[in-house]
């Protein structure tokens, strides 16, 4: 049986400051080495100052993933030399002397499958290496410490996955959960990273590191399974090792480094006293916990009669579900859900588009109301939405400017209906005997009004004039 386990790192991007100092957790906006201080640079004499908010957010994650949360948590030093590590040790957590990391054993469901979590720990992200130079010979390595000290949560799973697809599904769900908790924006570049370990029946465990994206992770796992199976079929033993994902060639390569032999000489970080997570804090966090994706979905279906597929799409994405929550009313919920899932998702599917767009939840609510009251046809509403995204103008102004308002004036519409009847004698005859055929005439009216005729009113007038 194939066994795949994951180690996921997620930055707590929604925090204000780094894990041990007041530099910004959002390091992405800064010029190189501008988001640093004596603490995150590990200058002689500096001491870590624990960001209590990070402990709370990490505990929230542990609770959301059904992990045990210990009463007291501690930090440890992981000692190793690397240029991106300012102190040459990383402050992290460890459970070998008892459960003292923010989260212990837990699980989440992927469909009917349970994925078990071994532990969740809070730690600091290192800096970033930048390679410059034309050839490998005269290449220089520069270090940007802006990222050093960013709060990072590590989630380690049991090897419960059997296929690359399961891995992908899990990561999608996990990243939705983290976004929904409001602790991170996993869509930010580098905010969420994962390593995998893969083993097949009768083989040793192989770790794959350096995987850039979730998409590549699926590919890397797939490649690794194929590689191991091919070795196995030729009776070649699979050795325990660490392999790196070669992004260019899309293969895994033995890292040949002695990473597995590294001795991290873990010991307790004396500069950070033990932190008590008392029942009060836990209770408060539980109370502040945002509604889960599953609960949102069920509510959308049962309360608003939204179809389960639409509810699924809507609830799993924090951006859209927040938008839905802000814009819907008791009466227009279904219409709002409809606009979001059929129109909006195609228009603001990236962060850039979202940031560039100028619409608000008010626009969305008014648009749904306008469709329901017949002020705008569903067809015209698309044009209105486009314009609102671009200009941010009020719905009424957009309708006016683009002349999108429904023709709902009875006398005006009666004239157009009369014209269509005179042009389509054959269809009129058919409509008299076949009620379905009248839709053809409605279509003709729509053509003449460029889709702006109020459909219900048009049908009424047609029926009256034909006499059916």
């Amino acid at each position: 049986m194939t066994m795949i386990g994951l180690e996921i790192h997620c930055q707590l991007t929604n925090l204000n400051s780094k894990l041990f100092c007041s530099c910004k957790a959002n390091y992405r906006e800064f010029e190189i080495n501008e988001n640093i201080c004596p603490v995150c640079m590990g200058l002689p004499g500096s001491l870590p100052r624990l960001n209590q908010e990070a402990v709370k957010k990490a505990t929230l994650i542990a609770m959301a993933l059904n992990c045990t949360t210990p009463e007291k948590i501690a930090f440890f030093r992981k000692n190793y030399f690397y240029p991106d590590s300012p102190k040459n040790f990383q402050i992290t957590q460890l459970n070998i002397y008892g459960d003292t990391s923010v989260g212990g054993a837990g699980s989440i469901m992927i469909g009917d499958k349970k994925i078990r979590i071994i532990r969740i720990q809070l730690e600091e992200d290192p800096g970033r290496l930048i390679y410059e130079g034309s050839s490998s010979k005269n290449q220089i390595t520069l270090v940007d410490y802006n990222r050093a000290g960013t709060p990072l949560v590590e989630i380690v799973t049991e090897p419960d996955f059997e296929t690359p697809k399961e891995v992908r599904d899990f990561l999608n769900i996990l990243s939705d959960i983290l976004a929904n908790l409001g602790v991170a924006d996993p869509s930010l570049e580098g905010a969420m990273r994962a390593d995998a370990n893969v083993s097949i029946e009768g083989g040793k465990k192989v770790e794959i590191k350096n995987i850039g994206s979730f998409h590549d992770l699926e590919k890397a796992v797939h490649f690794e399974i194929t590689r191991q199976e091919s070795l196995h079929s030729r009776d070649i033993g699979i050795v325990q090792e660490t392999r790196h994902w070669d992004d260019r060639r899309k293969i895994t390569v033995s890292s040949r480094s002695k990473e597995e032999d590294l001795d991290y000489r873990y010991f307790l970080e004396g500069d950070i006293p033990w932190i008590r997570i008392d029942p009060e804090i836990r209770k408060k966090l539980q109370a502040e916990m945002p509604e889960s994706i599953n609960s949102k979905k069920e509510r959308y279906v049962s309360k608003y009669n939204i179809t389960s597929q639409v509810a699924d799409v809507l609830s799993s994405d924090k951006y859209y579900s927040d938008l839905f929550e802000d814009s819907h009313t008791e009466s227009n919920a279904k219409e709002v859900a409809n606009i979001i899932t059929t129109e909006l998702m195609g228009l603001v599917d990236t962060r850039e588009k979202r940031e560039a767009s100028k619409f608000t939840s008010v626009h969305l609510r008014e648009l749904a109301d306008a469709i329901q009251s017949g002020k705008v046809s569903r067809n015209s509403s698309k044009n209105a939405l486009h314009e609102i995204l671009k200009s941010g103008k009020d719905l009424s102004a957009v309708i006016e400017e683009l002349d999108l308002g429904n023709v709902s004036d009875e006398s005006e519409l009666s004239g157009i209906v009369a014209l269509v009847i005179s042009e389509e004698p054959q269809a009129v005859e058919q409509a008299k005997s076949n009620p379905q055929a009248i839709n053809y005439l409605v279509g003709k009216v729509m053509q003449k009004t460029k889709g702006k005729a109020d459909p219900a009113l048009t049908l009424d007038i047609l029926k009256k004039q034909i006499g059916v």
Binding site: L43, P44, G45, S46, L47, P48, R265, I272
Partner: protein
Amino acid sequence: MNLKISGLDFIREVKTGNISVEDFVAKTIEQIQNVDGKLHAFLSVNEEAIDQARGIDKKIKSGGKVGSCFGMPISIKDNICIKNSKTTCASKMLENFVAPYDATVITKLKQQDAIFVGKVNMDEFAMGLSTEFSAFGPSKNPWDTDYVPGGSSGGSAVSVSAFECVASLGSDTGGSVRNPASFCSTVGYKPTYGLISRYGLISYANSIEQIGPLTRTVKDSAFILNMISGIDPNDNTTVDNKNEDYLSGIESGIEGKRIGIIKEMIGDGIDPAVLSATKDAISKLESLGAVCEEISLDMVKYSVAAYYTITATEAGSNLARYDNLRYGYDFPLEGYEFNSYISKARRNFGPEVTRRMIIGGFVPSAGHAGKYFLKALKVKSKLTKEINEAFKKFDFLVSPTVPILPFKIGEKIDDPISLFLVDINTVTANLTGKPAISIPFANSNGLPIGIQLMADSMNDTSLLQAAYALEQTVSLPEVPI
């Protein structure tokens, strides 16, 4: 101008207008120029000290608000950061390191108008107890320059005892304030762990070390503690002392206090002169109304081994950042890959630091941690339990600060184990987080002997009261410089 006055006397003299800060500081700088060539307490002298003194005089004259130090000249161990000044840890590795920020204790003393006359010598990265391991040469004992001043805060003790400043800040990881204080006949005080912020103190063994004052009198130590203690958001290990005043009740005496005499610290290996001084101290304490009784602490015999195991482990980690990428000295990169480059760079550490780095790489490593590091932690926790038990019965514990007299420079430098054992009486306070103080008590053929008192955590106020009481019974010769 009398440089030999205490800190509190200095402040009184300045306040009453008998002396000007400028005159006193100028005279202090002159003293440094006169004697430091011989003693080598200072690694750098503050060129602006006299200007700063003049500024404080002006403030006094104009009736402005003056901080409670009134320009008191203080020396600072060279492992405590002062913004825009070199902080070398007496190491080649930090020879050119200019701190870009002030340690919390420095910020607090600046606010109280202290003047930092200079940075003083120490064993490299505070590892040692003779100041012989300074990369910039040893300091010498003012009582006899053939002898070591103790360490690692040797420069602090020398500068106070040779009147090159009124007081000094040192750091104490296993006795580094108390040991040189004892060898140079000054007061040396290590407070309860967490009472003084370590922010800006370059770490050696961060879980047990504290900054502490070296002063002429116990009252001066209490006065300095008043200014620099208390909770600091930049150091998560600091404790809230609720602005305790350590000075106001210092003359309360020790009538009726119970004092334990630690048997293991007056036994094998103790110098007869030190033993007789200790016995004398005990009878003085009794004559002040205290009840003294022997107590045996079984874990003390393991304390030095545990101490060196734990400190080497933490040092191995704390000093890992000195990899020559960010600090250190330049040499051509050509021909090195990352690991060999680091190895070469780290050869710039001196012998004692290198020794402890090697121990620190070994004792917590996989396969050895159980035999060494984890065992040392067990000793630490058992020792703490034992000491806590002892403090249920006693208010204070007494012992000689150091079991031997100051030794000659070079005498023990090739015998690290015998050097390690000199720490036997001081490391217990660090391993257990308790406050301890060394009081100058006797003199044997011109070499000073100090007595150590220890109290339970956060009992610093009463410890200082006891130290003050003992201090009043002492009359010592003047330092022969």
